[in-house]
């Protein structure tokens, strides 16, 4: 978190240099055209300058080749910029499968982060360097926007929806977290910091702050407190579908379409169960809209994600060397 004066932001994530290279390329291209036109205008104004109000210019009406040239050349350059920028955008929007998952809720005027191991933090986010981190978040009231300038990532927090940002931090240190979408009185006070740590230090930090069990354990507790488990059993004997191994797979719906089971779909199915009913089941489930906090919904989502038979090679448990599977609560 630089305290000194600077003209260019720190690059603290893997994507930052890619965004900056693209930015500097567009700046260079546009500066070329700005200088070209400015020089021509000043040159013409000086060269053809006259004090005689009766002087007239040459009779030139236009030129089709020139018109085509200055339409087509800028268009082609635009296409290059567009395609390059789209490529970067795709990477910004697509978190890798092995990302460390963190949940967050925004509300006026604070950010609350929940780690899978159960630690909560407010307006601070601790992450390990060198590992992709995916933050899934929503808002409990109005629009907010999660913005890490040093990582060059941002996404709006939208009530009723899940958004994500992901990044791989590359440099140890503390960096700004800003709310970038206007949210009322203390909008400019809705700031915090992200602390990038050595992976080992991060593990130690995680171990130091253990709360009341992991996020999925909290979800499991809620799952039985709310009596979800009377209908959603581990086999298909309940009145509702079994939730084991559902996450990440396509799900056939009663209306004949199908849906990818992701965090957003699980959230929707808890809050408005009738919206996308699973094929073969009756619309019996009550709505939990207004009865659960977003944090509780996230705990339930994480619990449902953790319901998997350990034998099959699911993508989330296919750990790379040195990367801990994020769905597994034990990380030490």
């Amino acid at each position: 978190m630089g305290s000194g004066f600077s003209l260019f932001p720190e690059q603290a994530s893997t994507i930052a240099s890619r965004v900056d290279n693209l930015f500097l390329f567009i700046v260079a291209v546009t500066a070329f055209f700005a200088v070209l036109v400015s020089v021509l205008v000043i040159w013409f104004a000086a060269k053809y300058h006259t004090e005689d109000p009766l002087a007239v210019g040459e009779s030139i009406h236009g030129s089709i080749p020139l018109e085509l040239a200055w339409s087509i050349i800028p268009f082609l350059i635009s296409i290059v910029i567009f395609a390059w920028a789209a490529d970067v955008y795709f990477d910004l929007q697509r978190p890798p499968d092995q990302a460390l998952e963190i949940y967050a809720t925004a509300k006026r005027w604070m950010w609350k982060f929940q780690h899978l191991d159960g630690q909560n933090e407010i307006n601070e986010l601790h992450v390990p360097a060198g590992r992709p981190v995916k933050v899934t978040f929503t808002s409990e009231d109005v629009l907010h926007s999660m913005f890490f300038p040093s990582f060059r990532v941002k996404a709006d927090a939208i009530p009723g929806r899940y958004s994500t940002v992901w990044f791989t931090a590359t440099k140890l240190g503390e960096y700004h977290l800003f709310c970038a979408e206007y949210c009322g009185t203390k909008h400019s006070g809705m700031i915090g910091k992200v602390v990038v740590m050595e992976p080992a230090e991060y593990q130690a930090w995680l171990a130091g702050g253990l709360g009341a069990g992991s996020l999925s354990q909290r979800g499991e507790q809620l799952f039985s407190d709310l009596a979800c488990n009377t209908c959603h059993r581990s086999d298909d004997s309940g009145r509702g579908p079994s939730l084991v191994n559902k996450f990440g797979a396509p799900q056939e719906l009663a209306n004949g379409t199908s849906v990818a089971v992701n965090e957003a779909y699980i959230r929707e199915s808890i809050l408005t169960p009738q919206a996308k009913l699973v094929a073969g089941y009756q619309p019996l489930m009550p709505t939990f809209q207004g009865l659960l906090s977003e944090e509780s919904v996230m705990a339930l989502v994480e619990y449902v994600k953790s319901l998997r038979t350990t034998s099959g090679g699911e993508p989330r448990s296919a750990a790379e060397p040195g990367v801990t599977p994020p769905a597994t609560p034990q990380k030490k």
């Binding site: 567009i26 236009g62 629009l143």
Partner: protein, 534 residues
């Protein structure tokens, strides 16, 4: 000629003769009065904002008051200055003159439009003085529909009402251009300002109803808790953004197209040449108006729209940039081998070119998906749109105002002060908004009352620039006012310009022309005609 010839200004004097006038010229001046007031208000809010931001701490205003300041700055400037400035002031004044017509097609409707505009303005001013509004000029839901305790609906009502003025003016101008052209004034002999106003009218008529619907939907949700945009009521907050930008992006073209038209007039006149590539400049206005409706979601690349729709909107945004580039190249080429007479309007036009160039080109940066994620909702965007809306639209308005001022008032302003003011505004503007590009890329979010210390140097530079800018604008107000009393008499055609508006006396007759003009030439036939001195 009598010492005081009959003009539209002196043929009647009573207050009623102004308030009940159906004369497009007087109505144009009445818009000028209201817009000047709104510009002063908006400028005052901007001054307070820049004062507050000179230090990182929030030491001048409370959080809520700061939020109201930037909201009311935006509302006053967008809805009551930028949107009406060129079409309603200069358009009203010169359009019928350019067409060789006695008035617009529907003079009574024109007067009604002014009253609707004033009523909308009064509602908005009432909302401001009775507590203000703090939603940002974008009124994003669910903040505006649920959380804000300020005068959201009173302001919304003002915007809603004012919209009808814009729709009716667009309609009036479009019919006027179709039906009231002088004999011989074919479409391709029209001055390019007329093409620009035509394209603008199209946007006003088709776009403005959508903002009315949006404000109405917001009111229904706020009053009756009817879930349209609020997720807690079953609505979709992002839907509001789609609807809002479906109007408010094209609205940028309502602001910038008519100034572009004015710039075409000024550059052709002071280069003593026909405009380079007339039909390309004319059709680029229409292309901008039409494609301008298809790019709204480029304001929403981080608002949770799908990756694929973001791709489409980014691509179309690059497409709409091309007609603007075409115009710029054609203006530059017009100066080639001209006989360039560097009078004040031309200096303002060149200043427009410099700022519009930066505004337009930084649009290519904000349209780039991967970069926009970082700069969205930062000062980079603030700087970009001020370069377009102030650097472009307001500079273009001033270029046009300086060009037609002798026609409007019959007086010349101080040439030297006009040039000095143009240079002060140009310098002040760049110093105000240049540092904001850097601030934005560094990550300073917009609408921040309090900010981290490391951003202070650039903010101080920006505030210093704003004070220079304020001096420049005040200067314009002073020498133009002085010219009304002490200015040299202008004569019918002080710039030796083509165009029918210069064939009648200055100020014009109450009904514009003594005899119906007949047009036998293209616009801007400077090179082939004998310039006469009157």
């Amino acid at each position: 000629m009598a010492s005081t010839p009959l003009t539209y200004l002196n043929h009647q004097h009573s207050v009623a003769s102004w308030l009940l006038t159906k004369d497009h010229k007087r109505i144009g001046l009445m818009y000028l009065a209201v817009v000047t007031l709104a510009f002063f208000l908006g400028g005052l809010f901007a001054t307070v904002i820049r004062l507050e931001l000179a230090t990182p701490a929030g030491d001048l205003l409370s959080n809520d008051d700061y939020n109201k300041m930037f909201t009311m700055h935006g509302v006053a400037m967008v809805f009551f200055v930028l949107i009406p400035a060129v079409p309603a002031i200069l358009g009203n004044f010169v359009l019928p003159l350019m067409l060789g017509a006695k008035d617009v097609a529907f003079p009574k409707l024109n007067l009604l439009s002014w009253y609707i505009f004033v009523i909308g303005f009064l509602f908005t001013v009432y909302a401001m003085v009775t507590g203000g509004v703090d939603t940002g000029w974008t009124f994003y839901t669910p903040y505006s529909s649920r959380a804000s305790n300020s005068n959201v609906m009173m302001t919304g009502l003002g915007v809603f009402i004012t919209g009808f003025s814009s729709i009716l003016t667009g309609l009036n101008f479009m019919v006027t251009i179709h039906r009231m052209r002088a004999p011989g004034l074919t479409w391709f002999r029209l001055p390019l300002f007329v093409w620009a106003v035509y394209a603008t009218s199209l946007v006003q008529i088709l776009g403005t109803p959508v903002i009315a619907i949006t404000v109405l939907a917001l009111a229904i949700e706020r009053f009756f808790r009817f879930g349209i945009f609020d997720a807690a009521l079953g609505g979709d907050p992002v839907l509001f953004q789609h609807m809002f930008w479906f109007y408010s992006h094209p609205a940028v073209y309502i602001m910038i197209l008519p100034p572009m038209g004015a710039i075409s007039e000024v550059i052709a006149c002071f280069s003593r040449k026909t405009i380079f590539g007339y039909s390309f400049v004319a059709f680029s206005s229409l292309a901008i108006a039409i494609f301008g409706f298809l790019v709204w979601a480029h304001h929403m690349f981080v608002s949770g729209i799908s990756v694929y729709s973001a791709l489409v909107f980014s691509f179309l945004t690059y497409a709409v940039a091309i007609p603007s580039a075409v115009k710029t190249f054609n203006w530059t080429a017009t100066m080639y081998k001209g006989a360039i007479w560097l009078k004040a309007p031309m200096i303002w036009a060149i200043a427009f070119l410099a700022l519009f160039l930066i505004g337009g080109l930084t649009g290519l940066i904000t349209a780039a998906l991967g970069v926009d994620v970082h700069i969205h909702d930062t000062y980079f965007v603030v700087a970009h749109f001020h370069f377009i809306m102030v650097g472009g639209a307001v500079m273009g308005f001033f270029a046009g105002l300086h060009f037609w001022w002798p026609k409007i008032t019959g007086r010349m302003y101080s040439e030297i002060w006009a040039k000095v003011a143009a240079i002060i505004v140009l310098a002040g503007f760049n110093l105000t908004f240049g540092p904001q590009f850097i601030l934005g890329y560094l990550g300073m979010p917009r609408r921040y009352h309090v900010y981290p210390d490391e951003f202070q140097v650039l903010n101080v530079l920006s505030s210093a620039g704003a004070s220079i800018l304020a001096v420049g604008y005040l200067l314009v107000g002073i020498y133009l006012t002085v010219s009304l009393f002490k200015g040299e008499r202008a004569g019918a055609n002080p710039w030796h310009a083509t165009g029918l508006e210069w064939t009648t006396q200055s100020p014009p007759l109450p009904h514009n022309f003594e005899v119906q003009p007949i047009v036998t030439h293209d616009a801007y036939e400077y090179a082939s005609r004998e310039i006469t001195v009157d």
